[in-house]
């Protein structure tokens, strides 16, 4: 599609704009994203990790819980154990793929929950303004005072170990960050003339939020939240590492990294594998959110 720069100096130029088919905003963004090779590669790798975690029981893998005392810490490429075995002789490939199930849940679910809560809070604070804004944003600032790792550990420690608790604590860690972004974006959009114009046409606050605010606000928040997924995965791995998240013998990348660290001098390559998975997923989400950001800036 070619968009000619239109200057409208004469009536002829006024009509010179080529006709274009109706195309939704998100369709345009999707098309632009597909042209970005890095984003496509990241999306493919993430999709592969997701699908294998989802389909783990049907992939014909070894039992991830079945250990063997005589086959401990086998090297990568050992017959029958393509990615070696861990310190209890369990198949690493099976544990990495099964581990993706928990790791991805604790990586993504807190971000989704925080996205919902933080966006609502930020929209309300930004759109209503005044005292409500002050109340919401100052409360959020209290949480902001703590470093996120420390906050996550403190909440998890107070709630007790376990997956659900670590998801709750990570959600609490991310809500303030997303609320802040949502509030600042909303405040910016609310002061634009098209929102005034919508008010002048007699639309109520909910219609304005739905039609005029959400579409302009969600994009930047979404990009930010995508970037948080990698942070969430790393924090969740940290919680498991400290014994506050998943409990053994559950396979989970952070916990595996923790238990394998004693074997780092014996078999460093196998010990590094869970870390490599965390790295792959988090960098995948980071690059993808980067690609999203430039794809959503359709003005260029």
């Amino acid at each position: 599609m070619s968009i000619s720069p239109t200057s409208a100096l004469s009536d002829a130029a006024l009509q010179a704009a080529p006709s274009s088919k109706a195309r939704g905003y998100w369709a345009t963004v999707g098309r632009r994203l597909l042209r970005d090779k890095v984003s496509v590669a990241c999306a493919l790798i993430l999709a592969l990790i997701f699908l294998s975690a989802l389909a783990a029981p049907w992939l014909g893998l070894a039992d991830p819980y079945q250990g063997s005392m005589i086959r401990r810490l086998r090297h990568i490429g050992t017959a029958g154990y393509p990615l070696g075995t861990d310190e209890l002789g369990r198949d690493m490939l099976a544990r990495l793929i099964y581990g993706g199930r928990l790791s991805l849940i604790v990586g993504i679910l807190p971000v989704i929950l925080a996205f919902g809560i933080g966006t609502s809070l930020g929209l309300i604070a930004g759109y209503v303004g005044g005292k409500i804004n002050t109340a919401i944003m100052r409360t959020v600032d209290v949480f902001y005072a703590f470093p996120s790792v420390l906050l996550a550990i403190a909440i998890s420690g107070a709630l007790g170990a376990g997956i659900v608790n670590s998801i709750v604590s990570l959600t609490i860690v991310f809500v303030p960050q997303i609320t802040r972004i949502a509030e600042s974006v909303t405040t910016g959009v609310r002061n634009m003339d098209f929102v005034e114009a919508a008010r002048a046409s007699g639309a109520g606050p909910f219609t304005i939020m739905r039609v005029h605010m959400l579409g302009n606000v969600l994009g930047p928040i979404f990009v930010y939240a995508t970037g948080l997924i990698s942070v969430s995965m790393i924090l969740a791995a940290g919680l498991s590492f400290l014994g506050l998240g998943t409990k053994p013998p559950e396979p989970e990348w952070g916990l595996m990294l923790n238990t394998l660290r004693t074997a780092i001098y014996i078999n460093p390559w196998v010990a590094a594998l869970p870390g490599a998975m965390i790295f792959a997923v988090s960098i995948g989400f980071n690059l993808l959110s980067d690609g999203m950001r430039s794809a959503m800036d359709i003005r260029n």
Partner: protein
Amino acid sequence: MNDISAPVDMLEPIEDRGGAAQPLLQVNGLTKHFPVRGDLFSRRKTVRAVDDVSFSIAKGETVGIVGESGCGKSTTARLLMHLMTRDSGEIIYDGMQVGRALSLRELRRGMQMVFQDSYASLNPRLTIEESIAFGPKVHGMTDAASRVLARELLGKVGLRPENFANRYPHEISGGQRQRVNIARALALSPRLVILDEAVSALDKSVEAQVLNLLVDLKREFGLTYLFISHDLNVVRYISDRVLVMYLGEVVELGPVDRVWDAPAHPYTRALLAAMPSSDPDHRTETPPISGDPPNPIDPPAGCRFHTRCPFAEPLCANATPKLTALDRLGHQAACYMAIPGSGHSRAPAKQGDTA
């Protein structure tokens, strides 16, 4: 250009109740002060953005508002649109008090506004058709009918619907966007359209086209305009009557020809003298007024213009002159020099005792 022969559904305009003699809009004592937070120990201050402004707009006329930046023109527009709450004053639309006889929702249909920034006033995520159709939908039109109306209005503002309906605001030029904004305002069948610097950001040739379009639309839809601008030539071209504002107050108002030919307030004279002449032999040699407008946080007592007025006398600093009729054509000015027997040395003598 348009071969749509079937009549297009439009929203029913607010019914004309008072007839031609009743002004479409009557504004009495409109006031808006913004609180400014001082530092910890100083008392609260206020910016007197709009101070006791009264005027009326007759049906079918175009009233211009001129003045320097910061004189309260745009605040007045936003107060009239009820986008901002006023501190005091009445706004009466065709004899109906807004909020009582006329609901705010009905007023929205009766009065629409075109903003200066053509880009910021369109949602970048909506197509042009969706932007225009939004208002009618809010007022109960079906999605299909409002889209038909949007396309019809695009044609009326000189944009071919098949080329423009599905485009996004960033894909079209500033002049085209302002046409879209005009179509969006018209979509609610308003009788009064407030044009807040609507052509000021356009380049001159496009500005002229949009002005002519506004004149044509006024005739076709029977509109009344409130035209706010700092461009005196444009105001003279389009307005029937003009209102000169200075620091939140109306200092002079009247038929545009009377005000241009016989400006009664020294501020109006200075404004007119500041217009660049297109004739190099009649170049403006001396600056008509010196200095910046005083800080509206702390406006001068008495006549607000006395600090910059070449004819100021002690009297001017004491009390504010009232808007006073100068003739039977509705020309009024708030200056002691125009008020007979005011005590100013240049004031005309009082003509007998005709009460």
